[in-house]
Symmetry: C2
Subunit: 276 residues, 2 copies
């Protein structure tokens, strides 16, 4: 069995995890708590702009781990698809200004389109922005989303489908973000992580937990240990596959957002050591 | 493209679809509406008993298509697993008395158990009751459930996993129930249906639709046409694979349960012709 994390040197937190905190407060609190990295959401720098947001993070001794999120490529019109490409080009610019090594892609899905067509449009959209990503020194990380989001958020539901797009587009600037919440149910996960590692496409690792029953399809994720995901086992697979990046805590939870956030952050740190 | 159904001769309705109606009323209403078959839930015959329930269905000119539901095999104690086996033996007896050709298995999952261990226990549980199923002339239909139920309702999330159990236990009394709600997202679905057909294990076909966004993880299914599932296409795959049984409408929906059920039933019939 993989060992528990020894310290917080690989702990990253997504700002959305502590949504009640404004960006500046989140960064300050994370730094004070000894968290090592932060994944920034685009809404975080609406006022500051991405460059100043990146400076703020680094001035607190934290690493910018990733920018969330680009994607949402499929649309039922050529105009819609072109707008998505434009938005992703902007997102890449923002990541470069922020100093984020990669952008997480929630690839999108359109309820009126067949899933296979949506995946075709996703590959097409990524292909359209990859040269700009490469020129900007920003990688793109396809995040397979749980099949319960297949209709409206991501037609890429599995690591296999993400790997297929990586294989098709073959670029050192394209890879995969593995999120245990989205992928833990998949009996091919261990094998897919191994393959992705050997192909050099493992870019990010997100952790949270699956509560039973899930009270809300979007905003009822659990802190590590509150659910049934074998997080440590999956982290072991990811590490054995060669991944040595951050463990990113990404929790959307109305229940936790309603709690006192400083205490919640301490709970996350304890859970990180005990259950990831 | 597969043709629309010409009539209601293959239309079956699960009694849970019109939950506000007591069993007798449901049967009477379905018969009056020209529905051909009914899938009975175990709670339906709490008063009547299964034999009288079967008589009631047949006396209205309807076929008993299936009994819902057995399963829930995994447990964290041997005692729990033995109780599950006992309950499934009783369920098989009830199906025989009811005159149902098969029992649908919602296989179960225990949050504390690894999914692979749950699937092992599921195969073990099915193996324990298969001889009684065969002796009773009742088939068992494994229903893969959507991965969003992997933690607590079914560690069997895909057709591939259901086929693996069928291959392991190899019995003419064991097969698969394909439900579009649970399987539509799977890019291997067409291929898996073809394989299942050639292996002779396609026992049942359930239809409903996936609404966006899903308001409730359990009770927000849509009537055919209210969502994004390519129901007719999947029905085509099932038919091409040799399935010639009923198309079973199984909708759990608080929204529709709160509506006038006779009008709802008419809406289901219209949607059946238009969207399945």
């Amino acid at each position: 069995m993989t060992s528990p994390p020894r310290d917080f040197s690989r702990l990253c937190i997504h700002t959305m995890t502590t949504k009640p905190w404004a960006f500046e407060e989140a960064v300050r609190r994370y730094a004070a708590a000894g968290v090592a990295g932060v994944t920034v959401w685009r809404s975080d720098f609406a006022d500051l702009g991405p460059a100043a947001a990146g400076e703020l993070v680094r001035s607190h001794g934290l690493s910018v781990v990733s920018l969330c999120r680009g994607g949402f490529f499929p649309a039922d019109s050529a105009g819609g698809r072109a707008r998505a490409v434009d938005d992703n080009l902007r997102c890449i610019d923002e990541a470069a200004a922020l100093g984020a090594p990669h952008v997480v892609l929630v690839c999108g899905s359109a309820p009126g389109l067949a899933l296979a067509e949506s995946r075709r449009q996703i590959a097409e959209g990524i292909a359209a922005v990859l040269p700009h990503a490469a020129a900007s020194g920003v990688k793109l990380a396809i995040e397979p989303l749980h099949p319960m989001y297949a209709a409206d958020r991501s037609a890429v539901s599995t690591m296999s489908q993400a790997r297929a797009i990586c294989s098709q587009l073959k670029s050192p600037w394209l890879g995969i973000a593995v999120d245990v919440y989205h992928t833990w149910w998949d009996d091919r996960l261990e094998d897919e992580i191994r393959r992705s590692g050997s192909e050099g496409t493992l870019l990010a690792f997100h952790i949270s937990d699956w509560r039973t029953p899930v009270a809300d399809i979007l905003e009822d994720r659990g802190v590590m240990g509150e659910g049934c995901i074998p997080i440590r086992q999956i982290r072991g697979w990811v590490q054995e596959a060669g991944f040595d990046g951050f463990n990113e805590v990404e929790i959307f939870s109305r229940r936790h957002w309603a709690s006192e956030q400083a205490r919640y952050l301490e709970g996350i740190k304890a859970a990180y050591l005990a259950h990831s």
